[in-house]
């Protein structure tokens, strides 16, 4: 029966896609071990992984749920600073860098999810432009709060304050987050491998979600809220679910990102970053998870590659032209035709399921 064949085709496609990502990882790993990667590109490997996770998770809100969020960087920020605090606290207790990073990411995901609920419950009553504007505001609020946050650790444990004057640590205590100055002296424990594993986990979970009853309910809310309601689907519940899962992954990306630099400030996770990630999502195709992976990776390395190829003068020009070309391609008949050529059966399937 062609039904079985089709299910097979979907599975085969995603095996191939995962295969490509793994192959890319191996190639980069070999290149970097044999010294074939420039120093600056090497420094970008972890941020690229973080951006890929950001783009894939934002696509869950924007492409799969269909609500425009302009505040994704806010959740990344929550994850970044949570991760920093957790790794600092656990420095002695958990000597293994990898394990400490993993624990930090789990806590960061939980923290970002909690903030996701706090932001999501009021925000998701809105939709469209209003929702977009309020998510933007939420991101700014998170930034402002982190900006006045003082967290330190001494023998008595963790201390937290939002007033610098009242913040004192014992002799030998360690300042972790120092208000607007942010964090410095981070023990850089993020690695390309850690980022790669996080990407795989993110893709696995989000693609699974899309192909499940929960994911279908989220897409139903996107396609028609009134109809979703009419068949017993609580639209608010599934909007919140998508939003919170999206926030949790942004939190993990935040930890990965932060633990790759020696200093991090709240200002790094601003509106511009939210927009940058949104650009990846839009150019990769709304609801197209693999598109987000490619767009995020490509558009992050591209400026660097162009610089290396001595296109320095025209670097930003080429970058801009490419952005426009991608955008045109995405909305074009050509893409539609290419998709249809891959088999009329597949074309009939949904974007989210193209996977």
């Amino acid at each position: 029966m062609n039904k079985i064949k089709n299910l097979w085709a979907t599975r085969r496609d995603s095996v191939i896609a995962f295969g490509i990502v793994i192959a890319a990882y191996i190639v980069v790993q070999i290149m970097s071990m044999t010294g074939n990667i420039s120093y600056s590109l090497k420094g970008m490997l972890v941020p690229i992984c973080a951006y890929v996770v950001m783009a894939v998770s934002l696509n869950l809100t924007v492409g799969v749920l269909g609500e425009l969020s302009l505040g994704h960087a806010g959740f990344m920020s929550v994850g970044a600073f949570t991760g920093i605090v957790v790794t600092t606290v656990l420095t002695d207790a958990v000597p293994s860098d990898g394990l400490r990073l993993a624990i930090a990411m789990v806590v960061a995901a939980a923290a970002a999810a909690v903030v996701g609920v706090i932001v999501g419950v009021p925000v998701l009553r809105l939709s469209g432009d209003y929702l977009a504007i309020v998510t933007l505001a939420a991101c700014e609020i998170i930034k402002s709060i982190v900006n006045v946050l003082y967290i330190g650790m001494d023998s008595k444990g963790l201390h937290l304050s939002i007033v610098k004057q009242s913040f004192t640590l014992e002799e030998g205590g360690k300042m972790i987050i120092n208000g607007p100055i942010g964090v410095s002296g981070i023990n850089k424990i993020s690695t390309f491998t850690a980022g790669f594993v996080l990407i795989l986990i993110t893709l696995f979970v989000i693609l699974n979600l899309i192909n499940s009853r929960h994911g279908r309910a989220i897409m139903a809310v996107r396609d028609n809220k009134i109809a979703a309601d009419s068949i017993g689907i609580s639209t608010t519940r599934y909007k919140l679910l998508a939003f919170v899962i999206s926030a949790a992954f942004a939190g993990m990306a935040g930890t990965l990102y932060a633990m790759n630099y020696s200093t991090v400030t709240a200002a790094k996770f601003d509106f511009n970053l939210s927009i940058l990630v949104l650009v990846f999502v839009v150019l990769g195709g709304l609801g197209n998870i693999w598109g987000s992976v490619i767009a995020a990776a490509l558009l992050t390395v591209l400026p660097e590659l162009l610089r290396k190829l001595n296109f320095n003068d025209y670097r930003m020009l080429i970058y801009a032209i490419l952005l426009i070309a991608l955008m045109l391609f995405n909305n074009s008949k050509l893409k539609q035709m290419l998709l249809e050529r891959r088999g009329s059966k597949k074309a009939a399937k949904t974007e989210g399921e193209v996977a």
């Binding site: 039904k3 499940s212 897409m219 396609d223 028609n224 109809a227 979703a228 009419s230």
Partner: protein, 252 residues
């Protein structure tokens, strides 16, 4: 006790009294028509029955349980499903997924199973697919299960909406002009399908239709709405020979 009891139902939009003092009693297993000229308030009655609008007056009971004030998704869980006059499908999803969504509250598994595809995920998905394909077969849509819903021809979209509503296993099915936009052949065929569905799925049906002759073929009881009020009710032959009804329609 009747399956659906509507008592003195009314709603105002600003100064407009769209529905006023409507009383209905629908027995379990019945196939009932709600007819009336354009703007009579038929769709508005459906919207109140399904919680899209909250009535300003009156009561609605399903199997003796109060419906007024409940949210639409809760009312569906209580046992009322519907289709829409202006088709509302999940356009980007496949035909199969549209119907599988109807089983959302019936065939369930937990969120972790959705995220990791373990436990009963595979079994429940298979069950849902089988059940959905069965319903699709009734509507002759099984051959197009993998089409994007928005790519279906108009007539088939209407059928898919009915299929999706039936998947929620409702006690009461509300159909808002199910034959709109269909040619006479398709319409006749659809009416037969509706009769079949009532028996096969053991469901009570209330359907809105413009064409009085068409409903009189399958409905055993009709309510006639005009300017938001019930103008007449009874068996099709009694209603269709009612002079008031004839004037309302001719004056349309």
């Amino acid at each position: 006790m009747a399956l659906l009891e509507v008592r003195d139902l009314g709603i105002s939009f600003g100064g407009l009294r769209a529905v006023d003092e409507v009383n209905m009693k629908i027995e379990k297993g019945a196939l009932v028509g709600l007819i009336g000229p354009n703007g009579a308030g038929k769709t508005t009655v459906f919207n109140m029955l399904t919680g899209v609008y909250r009535p300003t007056d009156g009561g609605i009971r399903l199997d003796g349980e109060n419906v007024v004030g409940k949210k639409p998704f809760e009312i569906n869980k209580m046992g009322i499903a519907r289709t829409f006059q202006n088709i509302r499908l999940f356009g980007k999803l496949s035909v199969l997924d549209n119907v599988k969504l109807g089983f959302h509250n019936d065939v369930t598994y937990a969120l972790p199973e959705s995220l990791i595809h373990f436990g009963s995920y595979r079994k429940k998905e298979k069950l849902m697919t089988e059940k959905a394909m069965e319903i699709l077969k009734v509507f002759d849509l099984d051959g197009q299960w993998n089409y994007k819903a928005s790519n279906l021809p108009y007539g088939k979209q209407r059928k898919l909406e009915i299929a999706r509503a039936l998947a929620t296993e409702p006690k009461l099915l509300l159909l808002d002009e199910p034959a709109a936009g269909m040619n006479p052949n398709e319409t006749a065929e659809l009416m037969q399908t509706i009769e079949l569905v009532r028996k096969q799925f053991d469901v009570t049906i209330l359907l809105i239709e413009h064409d009085m002759k068409l409903v009189s073929g399958i409905c055993e009881y009709l309510y006639v709405l005009n300017f938001g009020r019930l103008l007449a009710e009874g068996t099709p032959s009694a209603v269709l020979s009612n002079p008031e009804v004839i004037t309302a329609y001719l004056g349309d």
